[in-house]
């Protein structure tokens, strides 16, 4: 199945990835080829087959609900792009709410 430029742009935005005009043609071509590869799955009937999400049929181990981590905020924030008073800084979001909501 061939993906259109609109499809690719739409999915890229869902994934919050800005694609440059230069890389767009290569993505359109190769994504369509990948979808063709993936669609070879349709050559086999899988009616009644139980989906396999995970290789091991194991249950998640449980532990007591106690604090195990110490506070290392300063160390953890040392690799952050922008912080102030222990907070991560991002551009203002309030004004963009109506704009954001329409995209979902």
């Amino acid at each position: 199945m061939a993906l259109s430029e609109t499809d690719v742009k739409k999915v890229a935005h869902l994934a919050r990835i800005a694609l440059s005009p230069e890389e767009l043609p290569s993505h359109i071509k190769n994504l369509s080829k990948i979808i063709d590869l993936v669609e070879q799955m349709n050559t086999v009937d899988t009616t009644g087959i139980e989906p396999m999400a995970h290789p091991q049929d194991i249950t998640q181990p449980l532990r007591d609900d106690i604090v195990t981590e110490t506070n290392q905020r300063e160390k953890m924030q040392r690799c952050a792009p922008l912080t102030e008073a222990g907070l991560y800084l991002v551009p203002k979001v309030i004004e963009d709410r109506s704009n954001e909501a329409s995209e979902f």
Binding site: V11, I17, S26, M41, Q56, C79
Partner: protein, 482 residues
């Protein structure tokens, strides 16, 4: 024998007998890296100072009689494993400035064993690739032919061990990323059973497939390394609670009584004839060693790559959502608003292949396509897993080619991702099923190494090591160096 060709077992003996110190061994390998790495590009970071400091500590441990079997031996760490205070880039511009604030569990285990971390190796960005050409730091060259790829994604680790820049290294394998480069560089590598080695601090690509494992010159060395790496970790809830045997315990068992299967689908179209001949000779060698050889069928082999390229991108699109330019890593300049911050950070910080896979995964998981792609792929995953279980009712191990061809030329497949994906056709099914798989040197085609893949049932790594070790006692392919 020159130091660089010594195995871990031999180095360990020399260290224990105090014929050589860890500082001397470490300095020897640092010198080799300084001399040969510029041509190979196998390392992203070389840890001269911290390695020598760790080596001094190791020498103290050895002197005081508190050494373990691998104390004082240097290893290289794939740059996907977090190392406290040391850059952990995952081969990406996104993490080029990331100094990990904590150690991966595997890192901690090697530290506790007294091993010396000599550097972080080059890799395909976020472990996505089969040629190491997707690295932000440029491709790694195959030590056997610098115009060829070393395989990927753990190409730096494989090339470093093959070129004897380090006696051991770590890797991760999501679809073949340990086995395929080990095969193309003529070394031994094992992807353990899913859940055998902790994934804590191992940067995630596809969480239901990712598994860490070792590279070494021999199966015996790889067994010693897995002895350290394996085991349940409460920080990784998917690491399995299952006893860790001594993986060296069964190395010397004869292969008599062992039944080994080969899948006819692994010798069908797509496999280069010269490679098939090498693999058939290796199978004949296993027969000579006492194993019974039997043809089996893995009828859904051809569906492994299509299903994988839904499941792995789907999981990757979810895992890589964390790179948002807020808490760590790359951030774009002058974002206009939050959406612009996300989109440009990710557009500029990720390489082409990463963006491709995130988009494929997002598409497969998006509304209206979930059943047709993701659910379908999970059903095929079940069929593939069932094929292996049927086979293991009549055989103890499955052997075959690791890759359909020897190392290809740099640049040969960069513009054709689908052809690149198909180079993992024999390894991917093992990840989908979660089985342990191993590759060992088995011969050469036009002076390029060929690997034999061995696959066992869940938690049967000991049998892989046993068969591989016996093969290596009878052959000397693994001793050939570039």
């Amino acid at each position: 024998m020159s130091l660089e060709n010594k195995t871990l077992v031999e180095l360990s003996k020399d260290l224990t007998a105090k014929k050589v110190s860890s500082v001397e061994v470490t300095q020897f390998y640092l010198d080799r890296i300084a001399q040969h790495n510029p041509a190979l590009n196998a390392f992203i970071t070389v840890c001269n100072e911290s390695a020598l400091a760790e080596a001094k500590e190791a020498d103290k441990k050895i002197a005081s009689g508190h050494a373990g079997p691998l104390t004082g031996i240097p290893y290289a760490h794939k740059d996907i494993f977090c190392t406290d205070g040391i850059k952990t880039s995952c081969g990406s511009k996104m993490l080029d400035n990331f100094i990990a604030p904590y150690d991966a569990t595997v890192t901690t285990k090697f530290k506790e064993a007294g091993m010396v971390m000599i550097g972080k190796t080059n890799m395909d960005e976020f472990a996505m690739g089969s040629s190491n050409e997707n690295s932000f730091y440029g491709p790694v060259k195959n030590p056997w032919d610098h115009t060829r790829i070393p395989g990927g994604s753990s190409g730096g680790s494989a090339a470093a061990v093959a070129a004897r820049l380090v006696p051991a290294a770590t890797g991760t394998d999501t679809g073949g990323s340990i086995r395929q480069p080990a095969s193309m560089c003529n070394i031994t590598g094992i992807k353990p059973t899913y859940g055998r080695v902790s994934r804590y601090g191992m940067i995630a690509f596809a969480s239901s497939l990712d598994q860490g494992g070792p590279f070494a010159q021999t199966a015996e060395d790889a067994a010693l390394l897995l002895n350290i790496m394996a085991g349940h970790d409460e920080k990784d809830s998917t690491s399995v609670i299952h006893d860790v045997p001594d993986y060296t315990a069964e190395l010397n068992k004869p292969l008599t009584g062992l039944t080994i299967g080969f899948a006819k689908e692994h010798f069908a179209s797509g496999l280069e004839n010269d490679v098939a001949v090498v693999i058939q000779e290796a199978i004949a060698e296993l027969q000579k060693l006492g194993a019974t050889i039997k043809e089996i069928s893995l009828p859904n082999t051809h569906l492994a790559v299509p299903a994988y390229y839904v499941i792995a991108p789907a999981e990757c699109s979810s895992n890589l959502a964390r790179y948002d330019g807020v808490r760590y890593g790359y951030r774009c300049e002058n974002p206009k608003n939050l959406d612009d911050l996300y989109c440009r950070t990710r557009g500029e910080g990720f390489g082409l292949e990463i963006k491709r896979r995130i988009i494929v995964g997002t598409y497969a998981l998006s509304s209206g396509y979930y059943d047709a792609y993701y659910l379908k792929a999970q059903k095929i995953r079940r069929l593939i897993s069932n094929d292996y279980q049927t086979a293991f009712k009549s055989v103890d191990l499955i052997v075959g080619p690791t890759a359909p061809s020897p190392a290809f030329k740099l640049g040969e497949k960069v513009d054709d991702p689908v052809s690149m994906y198909l180079s993992d056709i024999y390894t991917i099914g093992v990840n989908l099923a979660g089985l342990p798989g191993m590759t060992i040197p088995a011969g050469f085609v036009k002076s390029l190494p060929i690997g034999l893949q061995l696959i066992a049932n869940y938690f049967d790594e000991s049998r892989l090591f046993n068969a591989a070790h016996q093969f290596q006692q009878a052959t000397d392919w693994h001793k050939k160096t570039p």
